[in-house]
Symmetry: C2
Subunit: 197 residues, 2 copies
Amino acid sequence: MLDAGLICHLGLEVDGWPVVVPTSYGRQGDRLYLHGSAASRTLRAAKQQVPICVTVSLVDGLVLARSVFSHSVNYRSAMVFGYPEVCDGADKLEGLRVITEHMAPGQWQYVRRPTDKELAQTTVLRLGLEQASVKIRSGGPGDSGATDEDMGLWAGELPIRIGSLEPVADPNGPTGPLPEHLAVLGERLAKRLAPPG
Amino acid sequence: MLDAGLICHLGLEVDGWPVVVPTSYGRQGDRLYLHGSAASRTLRAAKQQVPICVTVSLVDGLVLARSVFSHSVNYRSAMVFGYPEVCDGADKLEGLRVITEHMAPGQWQYVRRPTDKELAQTTVLRLGLEQASVKIRSGGPGDSGATDEDMGLWAGELPIRIGSLEPVADPNGPTGPLPEHLAVLGERLAKRLAPPG
């Protein structure tokens, strides 16, 4: 599930308030890497040895039932809790590799690597996967068998899927030929994000 | 933006830890309604006059740049902060109406309304929109004009869009004919979730 998602939601306390921000991430083994600007207030707070929660949610469908009460959402969600470590040196570079490859497999080999100046402007956090939980809801509405069935209403699921889209070239600068790993990226992501089975 | 999203991420502190959970929601005027099971530990905590953060994020595309550093995600995100109120009586029913209609416009009139027993099993929270912020990133990679352009690499955006899908009838019980508002729901959601312009 962590390998399927595109972004995560990072939650932590900043100045006494809970804050939830969308963030890029990637997983390697039992490590989750999170990416952000070194200037971000949330990322700065996350470096101060505070507990965080990282949630990845994938919406698979809307569950359209015969009653308001039985309406639901089919989804997969993973929550990871812990105290993040700030990555430095080789580990920071490894984190950026994992995050870049999570977004677009093949890009790390293809594009220019970060300079020291760029690395200094980037924060990479590492979180272990020891404290994690997963929730899944799938299938049709749960109101089958109830007297609601007799109402003659339509009930079922509207699946939510990412379409397989084509890359759009940068309108502001010259670009080279589209490499194979980016030509197939849309199709790969659509498959990756779809629920199993 | 709040009207476009399908789910939000609710963040708050539970037993000293930040917790981020995906949740159904809906907006009416300057009120955000959140839905959950009365048995949920997170929802129970949210009823104790604690501050919460509600974030709605829409991923519009992956920004594939000429350098690792300039990679990004095109997204729209809204964050709302405040102390939620627990809805009761007519306000609770109004909240459920707003949340149901947010998910599938037309459903509130079409399906069976909640019984008193069902209402007791449901928690609806209300949050004002006074403290809110919005972030948007759109467009191509920001590395145009840099010397990176000379590398002859392909750069651009992979748009992420929801496909327009067909409803699937409940396999576990008899369903009536598909009503018009559900027949067009997939197409409506795909349009609603797509970035403006």
